[in-house]
């Protein structure tokens, strides 16, 4: 059943991934404020990850259960990182 359905053009996705990778490398050399550069780079990384997850891992075609399995741990990692901030990041400055 999974095998017969329409799938995205994998090569086009690859082209996008490469373009975004080059963009991230170029952004890191831009004469912007450090925080702006970091922000842009991680936005690009998130878009790349999303492209892979949606197209290559086929999340685009999956139901809510698999989505939940994929998204909940990501949220937990974000929560863990934020809750560690007071003890490490705010602590030393």
């Amino acid at each position: 059943m999974t095998l017969e359905r329409a799938h995205p053009n994998y090569v086009t996705v690859w082209v996008w991934l490469v373009v975004l990778m080059i963009a991230a490398v170029l952004v890191s050399y831009l004469p912007l404020a450090k925080s702006a550069v970091v922000f842009l780079i991680f936005v690009i990384a998130a878009v790349k990850a999303l492209l892979v997850a949606l197209n290559y891992m086929h999340l685009k075609f999956e139901g809510p259960v698999l989505w939940a399995i994929a998204v909940v741990p990501v949220l937990l990692v974000v929560g863990l990182t934020l809750l560690l901030f007071p003890d490490f990041v705010f602590h030393h400055h």
């Binding site: 994998y10 790349k48 290559y56 994929a70 990692v77």
Partner: protein
């Protein structure tokens, strides 16, 4: 009414796919714990960017390209399974395996040049994290290469278990996604 709820959600999904996704959820937490620790440790003290500047962005970019391309060949192998194209499956799996090995080779070259320049795993917190994170990732790549190799050998006899290409692909793309984040975390910032 409730009976229809159960039967609607029941076995439309491949069991292996559900299993692999749960496994990936736990893997997200492993790499997530490591990345989380790295982020707070890095933000807590200064001077990490200067140390990260010793890493080679061109080599790492090349390696990123290699891994992204291997993800594409892996998903093309899955596409070939859908067409019942045994030769395509084997060709694309072989490409993925070779690209995975290329990634590991480049990574090994990178390690050796860093070690020669005197940057040991014990040199400073940045290098602690650098070697541990990339090392754990490289072990995952290695595991993926071995898995793909077993599928490549199995596909010689036919496509009876070819649905496993999709499962191995999910894992392989996950390893790619981890690298998509490690690359900017370690090299670009």
């Amino acid at each position: 009414m409730e009976a229809s709820v159960a039967t609607r959600t029941a076995p439309q999904i491949l069991p292996g796919k559900v299993g692999v996704w749960w496994f990936l959820a736990s893997e997200i937490m492993v790499f997530g714990g490591l990345i989380s620790s790295y982020i707070v440790a890095r933000l807590a003290s200064s001077g990490w960017s200067a140390e990260a500047a010793h890493l080679s962005v061109p080599i790492a970019s090349l390696n990123t390209l290699v891994l992204l391309t291997s993800s594409m060949t892996m998903v093309l192998a899955f596409g070939a399974v859908g067409r019942g194209d045994r030769r395509g499956v084997r060709t694309f799996l072989l490409c993925t395996i070779l690209l995975g090995l290329t990634f590991l080779g480049i990574k090994a070259y990178e390690y050796s040049s860093e070690l020669r320049a005197g940057f040991m795993p014990v040199t400073s917190p940045f290098w602690n994290f650098y070697y541990t994170m990339t090392g754990l990732h490289a072990l995952h790549v290695l595991a993926g290469v071995i898995t793909n190799l077993s599928l490549f050998v199995a596909a010689r006899r036919g496509l009876r278990n070819a649905h496993r290409v999709e499962l191995a692909g999910l894992y392989w793309h996950f390893v790619d996604v981890v690298w998509i984040f490690l690359f900017p975390l370690l090299y670009l910032t």
